[in-house]
Amino acid sequence: MRLSLTLILCLFSFLAEAQFHDWPMWRSDFGRSASTQEQLADELYLQWTVKYPARVPVWDDPLNQNLMQFDRLFEPIVSDNKIFLGFNDQDKVIALDINSGRELWHYYADGPVRLPLAANKGKIYFTSDDGICYCLNADDGSLIWKLSLAPAGNKLLGNKRLISMWPARGGIVIKDDIIYTAASIFPMMGTFIYAINAETGEIVWKNEGTGSNYILQPHKSPAFADVAPQGTFVISGEKLLVAGGRSVPAAFDLKTGEELYYRLAESGKTGGAFTCANEQVFFNHHRENMCYMYDSKNGETLIKEVGGYPVVDDKHIYFSGEKIVAAELDDENEIETMWESEVSAVNDLIKAGNCLYAADSKGITAIKITDNAPRVLWTHESRQSIERLVASNGKLIAVSEDGEIMVFGDSPVSSVSYLKQPESNIKGRSFSARRIIRKTGIKSGYAVVIGTEDIRQLKKLVSRTSLSIIAFDRDPDRIEYLREYFDRRGINAERISFQDFDQTLSSLPKYFSSLAIINDPSYLSGNDVGLLSGFYESIRPYDGKIWVKTRGKAKKELRNAMADLDLYGARLRSGLGYIMISRTGALEGAADWTHNYGDISNTIKSDDKIVKAPLGILWFGGNSNMDVLPRHGHGPSEQVIDGRLIIQGVNSVSARDVYTGRLIWKKEFENLDEDTWMIYYDETYDEENPLDTKYNQIHMPGANARGTNFIATRDYVYVIEGINCHLLDIETGKLHKSISPGDKYTERLGYIGVYEDLLILGNNFSDYPEMSREGVSKKKLKFLDFDFTASKELIILNRFSGREKWRISANHGFIHNAVIAGDGILYCLDKLPQGLETKLKRRGEEPPSGSRMLYLDVKSGKVLSEDTTNIFGSWLGYSTEHKLLLQANRPSRDMLSGESGERMIVYKTQTQEILWDKPVDYANPPIISGDKIYTNGEGFSLLTGDPLYEKDLITGEEIKWKFKREYGCGYVVASEHLLTFRSAAAGFVNLDVFEGTGNFGGFKAGCSANLIVANGVLNSPDYTRTCQCPYQNQTSLALVNMPWMTYWTNSNYRWSGKRIQHLGLNLNAPGDRTSDENVLWIEYPYVAGAAPEIPVWIDTVDYSEIRKDPISIHSKNAPWISASSIEGIRSIEITLSEESTVWESSYRVNLYFSEPESRRTGERVFDVSIQGRKILEDLDIISETGKEDMELVKSFSGIMAGRTLRIDLDPAKGNTILSGIELHRENTSDVKIFAK
């Protein structure tokens, strides 16, 4: 009897246990179904709550925040009676007892934990912005294994935090004990998608070859940018759906990692990080909580706006929203509505057993589904907005918008326990911190502290400054202690975080730290030269400071070491117990960018010599596009000076740190928005609905016609507002003074420019009365409105005092795009805009007299020359270097009608003679760069007007210089080494070599020109506000030269058929590129851009393509050659000449190999023959390299070839493999072999 009772009790216990189910992943399972078999009690009682600070989402503007909601709330998972939470502010994961809310353990990562966690068989998995995938013991939080998903330890500032260059934002999904995740959110940096053995942490497969795929971007225009993994991954059938951040997901083969589809362009203006799926279809975010439904098989859109985030219970779909809609999915992917309930599930909806639980701003409602019909069980009212629900282990867990976790159970409790985290409050007294703050004067920006023994110093720095501090120590226990210490006091990691000195310091980003404090000089490893100079490189130019606590001999040695290093801009000062090193002034070779076109000479060219390809990301995020004008109004471009980037908003101007993106100041105006209304934006701009996919802000000429209304200088930012010109202090943004230089007739100021100590202002806009017809008042079309393009009068003032120096009135109007200065002369065009002149001509009317080009002494206003002939243009540019003046037009997209580029005149300014006057077709405001003029796709000599030519790297012929640009508004701008522009994604042309157009793939460049090189970085403030296109990222960022970074180009090369002198065939590469040896490497098979028409024949057996990210390849020079390869080649034949007479020539042939797979010696062995002669016998790559991913180059000279060159690969064991073929014609006498 007793035995029976025991058995019954055991059975009962088993059954009771069996009702409990974990919620081991976000939305319960790998399909993110939000459905569990857990059957909660019919009545539930609040048992405990815990309150944490509300989450601050990673992204900064409303659209991004809606499209990527992964860290806007706590996203609990539940396993084995524990709730697990990740923290994006304290960089940690915690476990709470599900019955009491008591914290069981916590674990600190090295970066923010932004994506939901996952649990499997007693282990917890998560990723962090530190680029690492962690596996913890669920019982005690101990680390079981961790795997760096990032390919290297390099850091950058991302979303205001020091994180990996490849942050791991692939939200982990688990199936069959395999976890799937990824690192990197910018395809241009490479993307790394993984399947990992959950038990051991071993990699099952890794896809690192898709990031640079040349695919159609939004607007159906191609660029090198595939999916950017960001968001929770999902599994649908045999497909891994990789969240694409702002876009639809991409599908990868679950077993092999092969990319199956990514419908970025076809999807239109939709997409987002949320996806859930069953085996047949998936639902992806649209706007608010609305979804589109897609066919998992091929990614095609099935139903638009199908419903709110759904519960996917196999084929039963329950859509959330203002009401709940239950539907059934059939095998044909048709959806039939079964029932509707008026219960609000605006915030969340889950299914547990036979109940639905709905959350909205008022609370939670439980609904029982019986006989396929809903019945409300109960409603729990809440004072907070409930945003997330989880049902697991007998509990219903609710998460509020403001960071509260509420847990409901099946029994009432005598008193609900309320747990609360400490308020942020810290004080400290520290002489050392006070002295450092006083001596350096630095209280904001990013700071690095090396050596953390002095905790009071750290507390004082936190309490008395707004610095974001990253503190380093060698002692892991100390790091752990300090993390916990500040965490317990409510100080989040954005204010102070702690890192391992050895692992992180060497990979700090350049220029980011305003202040570095070295408390222990031993960290400098005896003043190691590499460490010192590397550390100095991480300091912000323009007076970033290193404070070294040192004395005695060590101090002297450091002083000597710094003197020996002779670092550019370094200035040493020492005092009692310290040395202070300032990084003064600009970076060596850097230059500013002021005015709308770079300078007051309208060159549209930055003199910055630092920025050159390859480029990688220095920082991203951290500021909002809400402070920038809407994109299609084409407001003025940013201006960059002394480490500050000045940019205009609708009613504000703000300054951002060039090196970190940090907002330095923002000045709101009273009426700037009125002053720029109908010029930089109009009634189509809808500020209230940033998520509206309808067209928002139509195209306008904006600053293309009006020019800028602000100028940044070293001392002040000059801003026009109505009749006033404000001087804002460049350091603080505070109003220094306002100048009102007009008179009683002044209605508005027009032109603005600064030349040396002079401020040039336009007094009133010209309104062209000669073109108005009396009594006729018509609404002007945007591109026919010439009334904001010129000023009636120019007033020249001392820019500090505002005292007027002189003024001059226009006969018609001083066209803003043609008021420039250089070498003491003010040049201006006084005439009608070109569109009006064309209109007169069409109407048989003579242009009114008085058109002229003036040379004015800028100091006195004396007319040096007045030219009334050949006055046709609307643009002037000046070359100080060559003393040449260019008259042209300003054709570009979104410019006034009539601005056609058909003619240019260049004048010698010293004699005012015409140097040349030519009909030239062009489509860009002409860029003056040295002795060249660049336009959109073409170039001309400034000295002669002739087209530019360059050497065809393949045949050695002279060919016309040109480049191809894909879709994008905005115009091309130049710097010493680059042309930058939008080309689907961000685009560039490397002026140093012949290789075509490249991309910085993975974010949208501005619709207004925003890719501006200045102060040592390529600045890209987010000038895409109101854009709804699903580009992978929509953010501000900055790029710097990173010699090891990969990039690809579309050379758009067309072979003439002349004999090939030099050629690289990069097998299975995503695009073209020119090597340091000046060899143009063309990808083969052709995948990017126009085909070069070089005939290549290839025979294969067991053909397959392998591609890795070049960062994974060990190579002396060009890892991007051996990173990709083709397996199975038997022979490859390259045509070398299509000339009628062919000569046999001698070639040097370099063959590139690497072993991309884990193989042992003897597993892949093959012979290689060239032109029928065996040149390699039993080549075994791994045997020669000793490890995989190591480049092996075999070089052969004296290969004689005529019309074609043939390479044969003959396998002895395994399959053949080849990465690249490089041909160089040698300087030996040729032999004539054939004549057609």
Partner: protein
Amino acid sequence: MKRDYYRIIVLAGLVSLACTTRVSEWVLLNAPANQYSLIYFHQNPIDETVRKQNQKVVDGIEMANIQFIRVVRSEIPEPFYGLYYGGRLFSKYKIADELKGLCSSPLREVIAAELMAGKLCVMLYLKTGIKEKDEMGLNALRCAIESSPFGKIITMHELSRNSKDEYHLASQLLNVEDDLNDIQEPMLFGIFGRFKALEPLLGKGITEENIHLMIDYFTAECSCLIKDALPGTDILFSGKWDNPQTALLNKIIDDNPSLGY
């Protein structure tokens, strides 16, 4: 043994097609006409009669580059139809009957057929009814066409600005620029693509030189900038633009390559 064959194929021609194609052909092939909006403004709920009347209007403008929208406005005394293009009000109509022939007319049918037949452009001459003024421009037009190497592939039509049959066409042409309605001068519109009208030559501006410049535009290589910012105003037309005949221009240029540059 499976043998794969790859050759870097000649896609360049396709890729670059748009850049060597002439403006007239590129616009016909690639540039759908911009949409007009016909908006019915009303204050009160519409009754069955108005609903049917509007349905008739919608049926009448089917296939044309226009959309019909209903807008409730509290401040309007009487309902009316407004014809909008590019955010600009072109015309107001009190009753639906006034909309007859809004999107089609005999002359438009003829012009569209000529464009589809591969003509370079159609020169549409809008007359004032003042003989002396009209004749001068017509003479210039005839001479220009006669002297142009492309004259054979250009057609010309005359239209009175007071034409009843072509009332809507004339009205739309007079809206191509905002002050044309007030100018009593003959006007010459170059029609191309899918019924796009360039800003007109006008009065004394209708000269052989200006006409040749207009022809030069139609025969120019279609640059990206032209594609991005096509000049001209679309005229309402109900018709299909699928499968036009090969541009006659290409043969002329093939036969006389010097004309192509």
